[in-house]
Amino acid sequence: MSDSAVTRTTSAARAATIVAFVVLVAAAAAPWWAGRADMRLMSELYLYLSLACLWNLMAGYAGLVSVGQQAFVGFGGYMLFALTIFGGLHPIAAIVLAGLLAACLSVPIASLIFRLKGAYFAIGTWVVAEVFRLSFAQISALGGGSGSSLPVSVVKSLAASRSGRESLTYWLALGAAIAVILSVYLFLRSRKGLALTAIRDSELAASGLGIDIWRAKLEVYVVTSALTAIIGGLIFLQKLRISPDAAFSVNDWTAFVIFIVVIGGIGTLEGPIIGTLIFFALRETLADFGTIYLMILGLVAIVIMLTTPKGVWGLIRDRLDLELFPLAYRVQLDETRK
């Protein structure tokens, strides 16, 4: 036993790091090789990827199955508009501040909805999001129910030229996705991540082993809400227009995100990444079919949930014993004792 060693890297993870690095360099250089429409699509993909990673951390690990994270997407978007238009802030500063405000706001919300269990919790999150939507629709200075556009002066403050702006918002989206994935990864690798993974598997056993479940969940809720608001700000920095229905859309910011996480593999880090790629592949190939696209999406989700409840990544992992993000501990046993 004294010769047993514990490691956390795998050769698959090392290979994945190299691949990820190459992909990132190519992605970062997109303004030089990709067209305008492609960059917009990729930005959208990065932002969905971020939302999916965050929702997965919250629902897949902390067991907080929220159907109301559109509250924070919309909040972030509206804060971008409010803080730049009325506060005169630079858009990037406004988005960062939106994250901080969302963190503050999420604490009292948590103290309300954390009292609800299971389905009631989910319904509670949705009610909160509806309250957000109705409240922002009342603010006539932001266009009330019909919304408003980001003033030209604010847009210009990002960069003078259109291509400069497009590159900047693209890099912001890419940077946000990297930052989100990296922080979720580092968090899960930490002591708190070990606790959260234990909570994912059994709250009863986790609390019996000294883990403060309520606190762990609160921390996750606050951090994911703040980051979701930042992503929301970036989403509407791309769109340049906001309205209550777009900002607090349960379809766009929750249903699609849940689809991504569930088909990719909930409760794994790789799942949301694979899920995002599948979602965009489906969406781009089926876009011309109109509403049929939504029906096919639903069908795919149902088939995957019935056949592989752990999602596509769960299937791959179980078959190949793969782990791209080295979270697991591997014990190298001394052969003589085995």
Partner: protein, 242 residues
């Protein structure tokens, strides 16, 4: 020896089902106490109450001189109470080693290499070391029960609560389990053990408590208790070696 755990007037019921009925008992530091009683008597519920998985209707629980009655389960573990679950609750998606590591990290408060070394040590003690890299969800029932004990030991408890971990073992495995528990006990850990495998229990404990319908119906020296009428009534027709 000082009193480590003191249970006073503890009552709990689920509607008409009484799982603890004005229960009183003390456990001294360093003792090993056995709990017997028929199925549904409220033994597991008693562990739930002591560890904070369940809250009592009335009564008081003191641990190491502190009132822990309203403490959260997590705090009670930090104070030094760990338990195994009769129905195993493994962290199914985590490896066996990671399960033990959770106990070492969050229960015992160890960090880094110290936590890893301690987790490996308890896996070695409980015979699970060779399973370290296996997902706990794919263990057999008997292995899961052993993992329950390993994880509790990883938390370095002062009081260890074991809930029916000897059932279904072969004689050799049972002997090994007895040796392990004796070693833990000799190391200074106070133990309360719920067990139907009476010969295993008697090999370890110095005192028995008998529970029926949530009520303590007998308590004292194991030999005397085993000869008593209460036990004979309860175990009539039941194979004590089952």
């Amino acid at each position: 020896m000082s009193v480590l755990l003191s249970v006073t007037g503890l009552s709990k019921s689920f509607g008409a089902v009484v799982v603890a009925d004005d229960t009183n008992f003390d456990v001294r530091t360093g003792e090993a106490v056995g709990i017997l009683g028929p199925n549904g008597a409220g033994k597991t519920s008693l562990f739930h109450l002591i560890t904070g998985a369940l809250w009592p209707d009335t009564g008081r629980i003191e641990f190491a001189g502190r009132d822990i009655t309203t403490m959260s389960a997590a705090r009670r573990c930090n104070e030094g109470i760990a338990r195994s679950f009769q129905v195993p609750q493994p962290f199914g998606g985590m490896t066996v080693f990671e399960n033990a590591l959770v106990g070492a990290t969050h229960g015992a408060g160890l960090r880094g290499l110290a936590a890893e070394t301690h987790a490996l040590a308890v896996l070695n003690d409980t015979g699970l070391l060779s399973k370290s890299n296996i997902r706990a969800g794919s263990l057999t029932l008997l292995e899961r029960k052993r993992l329950e004990m390993a994880r509790a030991l990883a938390a370095r408890p002062r009081l260890l609560l074991l809930d029916e971990i000897a059932g279904g073992l072969t004689d050799a495995e049972c002997e090994m389990l007895i040796e392990t528990i004796k070693r833990v006990h000799a190391g200074g850990t106070t133990i309360i053990w719920i067990e139907h495998v009476v010969h295993a229990l008697l090999a370890v404990v110095q005192r028995l408590i008998v529970i029926d319908f949530g009520k303590k119906i007998a308590e004292g020296d194991p030999r005397t208790i085993m000869e008593s009428r209460e036990i004979k009534d309860i175990y009539l027709g039941m194979d004590p070696h089952a």
